[in-house]
């Protein structure tokens, strides 16, 4: 008996954070900095910043397949094969065969099971949501109203932006509120021409992409060991300079500096353990991914930051007499309103001229064209909007494959910069829809005995109607700049999951009858459990979501510690 009590005590922390990625890192940083002893549980293996970025410094010829993925490996990583993984970055993506899931309708579930999670894979485009994003559901009677407004997040956006380090240009646009910026990255000559043409002819602003790369590191960046961007654009292999923001390079080192952080790896959280009498969580039950050993950890406070599908599925798996359908699922909203951004659509063109213009360095970012549809006086026959990312660059030697010719002259020509090309790729908002969902399989389990996820979601009429404009408007802007051979495109491969912006499934809301989380990301019916990753999102906006997850996490952590101190949790 005594032994058990001692063992329990050794496994007891002030707070448990599930997941070490984008939001888990923030929860760990905020909670440790506020004095709590924090345990981070990571389901994957330990990946060490810098030393485990094993491909980061490799030259092209050191890759056996020169960047291409062998077919056998591709079949093991099928979810990522559309665009994300290359030979140098594949090791950061999880193996789909070992981590199977079920697609009732097509869904690519792209995962990164190691320290840092998907914060090592993200595109790093970083935008604030605007005022309307938090009002749209209420105005249009869709989903539920957000329990917070833009003003609630302003101080938290300010707070996280400074620590993250975002390069960008202030524009004063209501549709795309400015952040606290480090110096912007440069535009190329044809990009500046596009910006001017589109402003003059179509009255649409274009800005340089706002990306989480250090263009001028500040003391608080260097204090955790981060350095300036080297413009290699090899980010997808992991950045040994810590120049792009990841939890591994930034928030976890900050948490570690407090000496109050413990990270346990290979720990798959099976369920949250409920204290039936107190109606509160008292800890989590964990399966070791290698040994299958089951352990328990205890804490007064639990933050779920396992990624949208991960966090929600843990709630679903946490069944008890009080919560027979999953912890906090009184509303039957767990797993519903699964959202993503829809992409793989836009326009591209050839650019004549600008032969004397070139650029030095590989820019890890692009242009950004903020939403202009259904904004101001513009009214469309669909709801919400979309933005574009893209840019112009000069074709390299690979153009030779589709050009006529071979031999000595051809060989020499391929060593010269090729003609300019441009691409604008649209990112569209997906509406919340309770029938877009995932649930737990009743009979299919993974090798850890946990039910497999069944995805049942697709784009709807609104998204399909929006796609026509994404193509046409992209083409229109390229034509406004006088570019040639403008080709609008819609890649039929587009479906849910490819955006890697999974959102919803444990939404925030004012009413416990229709939502899972309250305005502080607290489970309505179990106050010491917070969910602050993409699960919490009530709608999807059309801009990249990570910054908003981070702001929500820092805000929730601050509130949670206040409540702990006031003994209200």
């Amino acid at each position: 008996m005594n032994l058990n009590i001692k063992a329990d005590k050794a496994q007891t922390y002030d707070a448990i954070v599930v997941g070490s990625g984008m939001t888990g890192g923030w929860a760990a940083k905020e909670l440790t900095e506020k004095g709590l002893k924090v345990l981070v549980l990571e389901r994957g293996y330990e990946l060490k910043h810098v030393e485990d970025y094993k491909t980061a410094m490799k030259d092209p010829w050191e890759f056996e397949h020169r960047g291409k993925i062998p077919i056998v490996a591709a079949e093991e990583h099928y979810a990522t094969m559309y665009f994300s993984a290359k030979e140098g970055s594949q090791y950061l993506y999880s193996n789909d065969k070992e981590n199977p899931y079920i697609q009732k309708r097509p869904f690519n579930w792209i995962r990164a099971y190691h320290t840092g999670g998907k914060s090592l894979l993200w595109g790093k485009h970083t935008y604030r949501w605007n005022r309307e994003d938090f009002l749209a559901n209420a105005k249009q009677g869709l989903g539920v109203d957000w329990p917070i407004r833009y003003d609630d997040l302003i101080p938290w956006y300010n707070y996280v932006e400074k620590f993250v380090g975002i390069s960008g240009q202030a524009e004063g646009l209501a549709v795309l509120p400015d952040s606290n910026f480090l110096p912007p990255m440069a535009m190329t000559a044809p990009e500046i021409h596009l910006k001017k043409s589109v402003a003059q002819k179509l009255n649409r602003p274009i800005t340089i992409g706002r990306v989480a790369h250090l263009t001028k590191p500040q003391p608080w960046h260097t204090a955790v060991g981060r350095a300036s961007c080297q413009f290699r654009n090899r980010c997808s292999r992991g950045c040994p300079f810590g120049a792009y923001f990841s939890s591994l390079a930034a928030t976890i080192p900050a948490a570690r500096q407090t000496n109050r952080l413990t990270i346990v790896h290979n720990a798959i959280v099976k369920e949250i353990i409920l204290d039936d009498k107190a109606q509160k969580a008292k800890g989590v039950r964990v399966i070791d991914q290698n040994t299958l050993e089951v352990r328990e950890f205890y804490a007064k406070l639990i933050f779920l930051n396992a990624g949208t599908i991960g966090s929600t599925s843990i709630l679903m798996n946490s069944k008890s007499a009080r919560f027979p359908n999953g912890l906090g699922n009184d509303s039957d909203q767990l797993g519903r309103n699964l959202m993503d951004h829809h992409l793989a659509i836009g326009a591209r063109a050839d650019i004549e001229g600008f032969e004397d213009d070139y650029f030095f360095g590989a820019r890890p970012g692009s242009l950004y064209i903020p939403r202009f549809r259904n904004w101001g006086n513009d009214k469309r026959d669909y709801l919400r909007g979309f933005g574009y990312q893209g840019g112009a660059s000069r074709a390299d030697w690979s153009r030779g494959a589709t050009e006529t010719g071979f031999g000595a002259d051809f060989k020499k020509k391929m060593t010269q910069p090729g003609p300019w090309k441009i691409n604008l790729s649209g990112f569209g908002e997906v509406l919340p829809n309770p029938n877009n969902r995932f649930y737990l399989s009743e009979d299919q389990k993974d090798k850890w005995g946990l039910p497999q996820i069944v995805f049942d979601a697709d784009f709807g009429e609104n998204e399909r109607a929006m796609r026509k404009d994404i193509m046409n408007d992209g083409a229109e802007m390229l034509e406004a700049a006088g570019f040639k051979n403008v080709v609008p495109y819609d890649n039929p491969v587009a479906h849910m999951g490819l955006g890697i912006h999974e959102m919803g499934t444990a939404r925030m809301g004012k009413d416990p009858k229709t939502s899972v989380l309250n305005k502080f990301n607290q489970v309505h019916a179990c106050k010491n459990v917070f969910v602050t990753d993409g699960s919490a999102m009530t709608s999807a906006s059309n801009v990249n979501p990570s910054l908003t997850y981070m702001a929500l996490t820092a805000r929730a952590a601050s509130y949670a510690v206040e409540q702990l101190k006031a003994r209200s949790l």
Partner: protein, 184 residues
Amino acid sequence: MNRREAVTHVAWILGGVFSAPTLQAMNRWEQIGSQATALRQSGSFLTETQHEIMARVAELIIPRTDTPGAIDAGVPDFMEVMLRDCYRKPAQDTFLAGVGALEQKGFLKLSADQQTALLKQVEAEAQKTSDSSFWLITKELTLLGYYTSEVGVKASFDYQPIPGRFEAIKIKPGQKDFMYGNQA
């Protein structure tokens, strides 16, 4: 459980939603499985003659000039690795049919001019179709193999593994393309 069983099992879990290309890949694994010994013994995808033909074709595409050529850069062996590992059976078959056609025409016995003329014909034929052709595969692999090899990169480009900055600049006369090695 062998590989095909494993894949079939996953396909079944996924509700039979595997695509045609995946199924083709599974057939290819089966084939490799049955030929495993032979493949390992020869260590190659092509016969010796076919390998020689491809070496010659690659060298005609990227010849040795004042800088190294395709053979210097190891392109022929690279092509074999790529065809074996990164191409599905239909593309492999297309490729093998193309090499076979050159073999039948006694490609290696032709003069350099005749070889060039024949490849120009092959190229012209390939341009009539939008499908992947022997010529497109060969040219893609030759360019990839050469312009990402150590000798190819160093001889052809201004290689900048750590540029340190990004800026718009004006081009200089005869300027070589910058290469950043970020394609992998």
